[in-house]
Symmetry: C2
Subunit: 416 residues, 2 copies
């Protein structure tokens, strides 16, 4: 049997303090954290024991194949997460003639990237004998956590933003989860109470002083880097554009590429670009001000799934280490890129179009890349579908030829 | 470059009449069809030229890898369709201790099995220089056709059932398709007018005398058989349970396994079970009456995506040749199986749960199988989500501990 080579947790903050692998430190590094920031932790591995054959099989679904480089997985929870398609986009945007690809994360078990995280974080809950799972989320994270909790046979409490769409609530509830609507400001307090009182395992962030999150969760996103490396013919892309809220996805993808370099498989690490809603963009602010984290007012944006008011320290590290940057995309940019994706056959959630939107802005501003570029599309357009596309019904026609022609002409301008 | 080995079309009706590969005969076999039935056609290949190495790579996304055994594909349309996960279901249903698997077709580009069909059928439209694509569908087929038409740069007219949910309409429209609501009875007439007047290529059925469909479409479903063969360790399952309307999916999967047997790779072909809504079940009636097709009244059922009133001759062939049968599942069976899937981490459209529902009924009735059994789950629960799960909002709570406890206890019976 293949086993995880995880050997402990390391603080990402100053000092690189080491801790045992268990329990996952979900409230940040006890030693390096300050009143301003709770430094997150990451998982360390015995890299000297990684078999060269690990990267020989193509990019199939199922995180289990990456077991040596992931925290311990509960194998009963396997839903064939990952192994998502890489889809070429026609033509170069902004006059750039390099290859542009979309990594379509809507092809996961619950139709977003979050399944890669929850396979790891809910495994931690199950393997540590937790009484249940608790998650606070605007949607994708909660639905995914609920699915894995159901498979683990664990109860799940999902705290969703007040006013979350009914289809999102129905989806989370379908897996048997308890859904509660909570005001954004109250969710960390409610979550901590459920952790402490019910003994539930938190699979999303618990801390208010910057984002900490579950140390095992972002490890799942490393598999995106491994897959991209294989899908591009055993080479890394030149750049990756990532829809960014707290930046766990951004960090995980970067870490995966950094590991490939460390293992001698990849000569370089791609430049990582965080694509944030322009109305908030706390990471952009932290980078611009040279601070580890930043907080911003909750200005309105339709990019609900990445609309965070505090930045994640993980994201800052990934951007700085890779020579990338944070790009601010407006709601109008998102709508245009979402439409561009749909015209290429990919219907994305509005927030999921941030990767392509950021890439277009970068190319417009003259950025060029020495190799293929990947934009991650994080979730299906069915998530919050009414946000981007309007909810009007189509015209109804009988089988009268004259009427059909009239409708095709008048409503759609079709030349009949 | 790998090329298609397709060499012509053969009538599935009496006589096995042969026709050239082009144009696809979308109105059935001109010679064997009668006033009662328009016999569909299927694609023939030069099987002697299939390379043994074709089945060496694991079950990756992308139909292109099966190019030799598919009708000609337009490679620009690739969306990484197929390569879907096979997920084990815990425990034997009905006291049966064999292995049960779910083939999760919600992991396709537009989150249903239909992408495998449309990759082939829309390729035919693009390669034959059609002016556009027209499709009549309750939802999944239209959304998928619209995505591939968008990728092909072809206009698409989608005729949806009157009253189709707004999220389904928005989804289809997102790809740039023209959406028209049409009464069920009028759709074939409207479709024929668009084919004749606009020169659009029909990718769904055109004929009222039994279902004919696009001869190239079901070929895409053969890839499910190829994948299952590889995913189960180069052996076929003992039985496959398939949600069935017209039965193109059922036929395609059966044909794929029959080809594996013909090529000397698989010793047997699995028994194919058609799982139909009990309220209609035209295939069951055709089988029981020993007739090639049957028509039934449009009695109400919530299984909208498989609620056909006429059976497909393709389905009859697949069931008879493989020693299977048609199983009638009630709406209550579907709701229970949909819940069973969700508890295993898979949220399915109500119609998509018909495979598992049929399998449970078969096991309850004492059927046993000499090997693994596969139930196909055709589409994501986001398709027609309100049909199966209710649309009530979750309770809202503040961060008051007493209130949280009260809600968890009173609404959810959670012991806190």
């Amino acid at each position: 049997m293949i086993r995880s080579l995880a050997i402990g947790q390391i603080s990402l903050g100053t000092g690189q303090y080491r801790y045992p692998l268990w329990p996952p430190l979900t409230e940040g590094c006890p030693r390096s954290s300050t009143s301003e920031i709770a430094y997150p932790l990451t998982v360390d591995y015995d890299y000297s024991r990684v078999s060269a054959g690990l990267f020989d099989q193509p990019a199939l679904p199922g995180l289990d194949r990456w077991t040596p480089l992931l925290p311990p997985l509960d194998e009963r929870l396997a839903l064939g997460e990952g192994g998502t398609a890489l889809i070429p986009l026609e033509g170069g945007a902004g006059g750039w003639d390099g290859r542009l690809y979309i990594k379509d994360e809507s092809r996961n078990p619950t139709w977003s990237h979050k399944d890669r995280l929850n396979r790891c974080a809910v495994s931690a809950a199950a393997l540590s004998g937790s009484a249940g799972v608790v998650v606070a989320s605007s949607g994708n994270h909660a639905g995914s956590a609920a699915a894995y909790a159901a498979r683990a046979g664990l109860p799940c409490v999902a705290l969703v933003s007040a006013g979350a769409p009914l289809e999102v609530q129905a989806w989370i509830r379908s897996y048997g989860a308890v859904v509660l609507q909570v005001e954004r400001e109250a969710r960390w307090s409610v979550m901590r109470q459920i952790v402490r009182q019910l003994g539930y395992h938190p699979v999303s962030n618990l801390t208010e002083g910057g984002h900490t999150g579950h140390p095992f969760g972002p490890e799942g996103y490393k598999s995106i880097a491994y897959e991209l490396f294989l899908q591009l013919g055993r080479r890394p892309p030149a750049a990756v554009f990532v829809p960014t809220g707290y930046g766990e996805l951004l960090f995980g993808v970067w870490k995966g590429f950094a590991e490939l370099q460390r293992l001698g498989l990849s000569p370089t690490v791609p430049r990582m670009f965080a694509c944030e809603p322009a109305a908030r963009a706390p990471l952009f602010q932290a980078l611009a001000q040279g601070r580890p984290v930043a907080a911003v007012p909750a200005r309105p944006t339709r990019a609900v799934s990445i609309a965070t008011t505090v930045s994640g320290y993980r994201a800052l590290l990934a951007v700085q280490e890779s020579g990338g940057w944070a790009i601010r995309v407006t709601d109008a940019d998102l709508v245009a890129s979402r439409e561009g994706l749909a015209r290429a056959g990919i219907w994305a959630e509005l927030s999921a179009a941030a990767g392509l939107a950021g890439c277009r802005l970068a190319l417009d501003q003259g950025e060029r890349f020495d190799g293929p570029v990947v934009c991650i599309s994080t979730a299906s357009g069915f998530k919050r579908w009414a946000d981007g596309s309007g909810a009007k019904p189509a015209p109804q026609v009988s089988d009268d030829l004259f009427e059909i022609n009239r409708v095709l002409r008048s409503h759609y301008g079709l030349d009949v």
